[in-house]
Amino acid sequence: MKKSMYTVLTFVKINTKRFFRDRLAIFFSIGFPLVFLLVFGNIYGNTSNYSFRVAIINESNTSFAEQFTKSLKDSEIINVSEEITTIDSAKDKMSQSEIDATLLLPDNFGSIVDGDNLPSGEAEIIYTQNNQQSVQVLGGIIEAQFKEINAKFVQNITPFEVKLTQLNEKSLSAFDYTFAGLLGFSILAIGVFGPINVFPELKKMGILRRLSTTPLKVWQYFLSTMIGQAIIGMISLSLMFVVAIYFFDLKIVGNMFELAGFIILSIITILGIGLALGGWAKNERQVAPLSNIVTFPMMFLSGTFFPRFLMPEWLQNISSILPLTPVIDGIRLITTEGRNYIDIMPQLGLILVWMVIIYAIAFKVFRWE
């Protein structure tokens, strides 16, 4: 047994070294998922607090108008476009949907009219036909701002008020779903796309055949691949977590060790699919169609690129049993919802069942040449 493990660990050691000497392999297993994460993170990352893109045309030179403009720019809800200063360019941008609306402050805005001692004025919101809904919200926000200012000038009693209470719980943002999905995609890449390319190549070169003349056993070869891919996977996914934490404000709520353990288990299970496909196929041509049949449903239905709750119920039911679905759900439940292994028993159980099935197949269909 000690000798068997020496064999496995030597294979892991040398194959891992080989991996880090291959820049292309590093890029595709570690760099590529990071690029994916940055792209998708930027698409979904900022939608959690919705903001209006607005141009402000300030034609007034009163200090009130200046302060009002500044307070709008500081607002988190309103995103003021700085470079638009004329009404014509604002109209252009609106027709291109680059901004949602334009706020026009006329030249008498905020001036003190004779016979009065308070500044007054009327702001105009200009918008296009397809922005009616968002402008209603925007109008509400600006009206509320005016109310606040009015209240400062004219004291009166407000009999009814709405009190806002924020719950301490964060709801899941689109990014939380996207991130778990991207991790799932990364696991699929490391577990399946790697072996299905490498194994047929090794067979073609006769390397596996040469190994089969030695006492090396299939389980030793599988185990060394498993450990090696798990190491590379953990490095790749850790970097994804680092990027998500620093660039997209991801907060890991759950236990880190449980998360790591769950990810390793996931990589091993999904790798089994790659070992079965790559171990069975005699050449690349044989593996390509079958691997598409196996991986495409997981790629699109397991929640990698779009959350499963968007699917019709019957599709959700079908996709829930795909091997990658409990992986993605489990990672999200631990990471952003802080669940533990007992909470995610259904996911863990499903992964273990798949692991047994997949490896039973992988060992059965493996051929050295």
Binding site: T10, I14, D22, R210, S212, T213
Partner: protein, 253 residues
């Protein structure tokens, strides 16, 4: 019997409609270089593969050092070293690591350098396998087949595609391995190679062994049957001229 390392009895293998190996029997003694010759498709490789445990045997028996190949393939694998026809290695691997990996496949840890030195590759120890020549790959492959001290060493057309210098170098290496008491079984298409190197040869055709003897005896038998070459054989051939003009030193950058 105690001197016989490989014992092949009535070996048969059938592929669909073709009897690839048809009742093949031979013995290989300890420290003997045994050549299997024959045209393509004669069943040489299939015969080798059955002895090497790579292919199931239809009928007949193969014993290596007294151990039955069919009944105990795992044990036999510790006794044999196999040199494939065109050795390939995974790139980005150093020569020392190749040796280390193959030794590990047998659960052993060896001094990689001593094995590389033996095949004249100590200077290339830290190179990657993709940066060595074809002849060097052959020698590296031989080293990998010897890491566990096998009793039988198989070579499948070891010198195909090598230049005359590299061929001669490989012959010396095979002689050296044999001198340590390892039995060598090899196939080749080069008759000069078989004549120089092999103690005995078996000539196969259509799955059968048609002749088995020392090269000298086989030639004598032919002459005894009244065979005459049209032209008198020169005392030297073109190969000798080539080596005389270019020397025996290995050409590898």
């Amino acid at each position: 019997m105690n001197n016989v390392t490989v014992e092949v009895r009535n070996l048969k293998k059938r592929y669909d409609d073709k009897q690839a190996v048809d009742d093949v029997s031979f013995n290989v003694k300890k420290g003997e270089i045994f050549g299997i010759l024959g045209p393509n498709g004669a069943g040489k490789t299939t015969t080798l593969e059955m002895i090497e445990t790579l292919r199931p045997i239809d009928s007949g028996t193969v014993r290596i050092d007294g151990i039955d190949v069919t009944k105990n393939p795992q044990k036999v694998k510790y006794l044999i070293g196999v040199q494939p026809q065109s050795p390939t290695f995974q790139d980005k691997t150093r020569l020392t690591e190749v040796i280390e990996m193959f030794a590990a496949a047998y659960g052993e840890k060896v001094d990689e350098m001593s094995f590389l030195r033996e095949v004249g590759l100590e200077e290339k120890a830290n190179s990657y396998v993709e940066n060595i020549s074809g002849g060097q790959k052959q020698r590296l492959s031989i080293a990998t087949a010897l890491v566990h001290g096998p009793k039988v060493f198989f070579l499948d057309e070891p010198t195909t595609g090598l230049d005359p210098q590299a061929r001669r170098n490989l012959w010396d290496l095979i002689e050296k391995i044999r001198s340590r008491g390892v039995s060598v079984i090899m196939t080749t298409h080069y008759m000069d190679e078989a004549e120089v190197l092999c103690d005995r040869i078996a000539i196969m055709d259509e799955g059968k062994i048609v002749a088995i003897d020392t090269p000298k005896n086989l030639i004598k038998q032919l002459l005894d049957r009244g065979f005459k070459k049209k032209k008198l054989v020169e005392q030297a051939n073109l190969d000798d001229v080539f080596i005389d003009l270019t020397g025996r030193a290995l050409r590898e950058s």
